[in-house]
């Protein structure tokens, strides 16, 4: 199993006998400060009594392999990355960096470092895609003295392919089919006739939605149906950003709509941008066809006017 193979690398070296490619030097410090917009004179003003120090946050920069690559990287770390690549987790992104600075670095300091693979996480699902987090810890030395430590976490992941608008026409995935059973068939028959039907208990008269075999209020088994007038207000809502399901195009708003009759229905809100949906917003029932088989009740915001067709 992949994860067992991955965790076997925990505790093994990630880098051994690493040497900084350049000694700490004013040119690289200045380039860093220019990029960061950092005007701290401690990094550039050699006339200060203590001379200049490197920005402490450059700690990792002194250990980087650059374009010519790492020479110190261990075979264990390369094998771990290769195993992840082979399993489809080909992309990499850094997620965490924890640095401790034990003494300032100054021009002329020569850097050496070694690193250990601390942990490999189980498979995680993220916005970028699913993958494994790999945590390493690096000790940085200069002149036989440890000058800092550096814990670094990367995500090796399988990129989620984004569907493009042009590719969506012929091969677009379809919305999930509703599960129709004897308890809710009457509701779906209503939707087919472009009516939103709720149940009414013939015992106590309580309205209920979604459809259920018995009455929440009195337990009665008898019921008939009432057609919703169609007006309501947004009782609550969420905006779905992640994860992106097939046939859905986030971000989109899903509302809990309170109908004029008092029952609440979960549905999409249309006719208004997802970030303009608000609690208390008046909405009106409509029906939207997603494909030949699936039509669903949706609620169109009525405040914005315009009368445009429902669309996401």
């Amino acid at each position: 199993m992949l994860y067992e193979r991955l965790t076997a690398y925990e505790g093994r070296p990630a880098a051994e006998g690493g040497e900084g490619k350049d000694p700490v030097n004013p040119a690289m410090i200045r380039h860093w400060c220019e990029a960061m917009g950092d005007t701290n004179p401690a990094y550039t003003d050699a006339s200060r009594p203590a001379g200049i120090i490197a920005p402490p946050t450059m700690l990792q920069a002194w250990t980087m392999g650059g374009l010519s690559g790492h020479t110190a990287r261990s075979s264990a770390f390369d094998e771990l990355l290769a195993a992840l690549d082979d399993a489809g987790f080909t992309a990499v992104v850094a997620t965490d960096c924890e640095q401790e600075y034990l003494r300032p670095l100054r021009p002329g300091d020569r850097i050496s470092f070694d690193a250990v693979i601390e942990s490999v996480s189980p498979l995680k699902t993220t916005r970028l895609g699913s993958g494994h987090f790999v945590t390493t810890r690096t000790d940085v030395w200069s002149g036989g003295v440890r000058v800092g430590t550096h814990r670094f976490r990367i995500l090796k992941y399988a990129p989620t392919q984004r569907t493009t608008a042009t590719a969506a026409t012929t091969t677009a995935p379809k919305r999930p089919r509703p599960v129709v059973n004897r308890d809710n068939a009457g509701f779906w028959d209503g939707v087919g006739a472009r009516k939103l039907l709720m149940q009414r208990c013939t015992g106590c008269g309580a309205l209920r939605f979604p459809w259920l075999p018995g009455c929440n209020a009195c337990g009665g088994q008898g019921w008939d149906t009432v057609e919703a007038r169609g007006d309501g207000t947004v009782y609550s809502y969420v905006v779905v950003h992640h994860p992106p399901f097939p046939a859905f195009d986030p971000p989109y708003a899903v509302a809990l709509v309170e109908l004029a009759e008092g029952v609440r229905v979960i549905a999409n809100v249309t006719g208004v941008p997802y970030d303009k949906v608000r609690i208390g917003m008046p909405v009106e029932l409509g029906f939207q066809s997603f494909d030949e088989e699936v039509t669903l009740p949706v609620f169109r915001a009525t405040e914005q006017g315009g009368g445009a067709d429902a669309s996401r």
Binding site: A42, V93, D96, E100, Y101
Partner: protein, 135 residues
């Protein structure tokens, strides 16, 4: 300085130049930090800032405020929403604790997608220097 005190915010426009210059200054040649096409192939809408640049900006935010004699002891950050060109990151900080001459600052950097970075910085403050922002 007391726990709960807020640092003034620092607004950083995320330009393509900043993303690329930060990556190169930190010797990070991962293509997702300079090649938009490669970034898109890996599931990102555009290039994005590398963690070393974020780390450098967080360090700068603290020393900009406390002055050149303040000494960074620890910087621990976690990345969330990526910093893409065209966005703006607003760094804010709150003093979490003060212990002798050391203070821990909680730092957050928000862009329009959410929090790009959250973290904690431990900084040693000079005894004799005024603990005020440099102008």
């Amino acid at each position: 300085m007391r726990a709960g005190e807020q640092l003034p915010p620092l607004r950083i426009p995320i330009t393509r130049t900043l993303v690329v210059a930060g990556a190169i200054a930190s010797r990070d040649y991962q293509d997702v930090h300079h090649d938009a096409e490669a970034a898109r192939a890996k599931g990102s809408p555009d290039i994005f800032m590398n963690i070393l640049t974020t780390n450098g900006l967080v360090g700068r935010y603290i020393t900009d405020h406390f002055g050149p004699d303040a000494e960074l002891r620890k910087v621990a950050i976690r990345l969330g929403a990526p910093n893409h060109p065209g966005d703006e990151m607003v760094l804010t900080g709150t003093v979490a604790s003060v212990d002798g001459d050391e203070a821990v600052i909680e730092v957050k950097g928000a862009n329009r997608l959410g929090n790009h970075v959250t973290g904690r910085v431990t900084v040693r403050l000079p005894h004799d220097a005024p603990q005020e922002a440099r102008s």
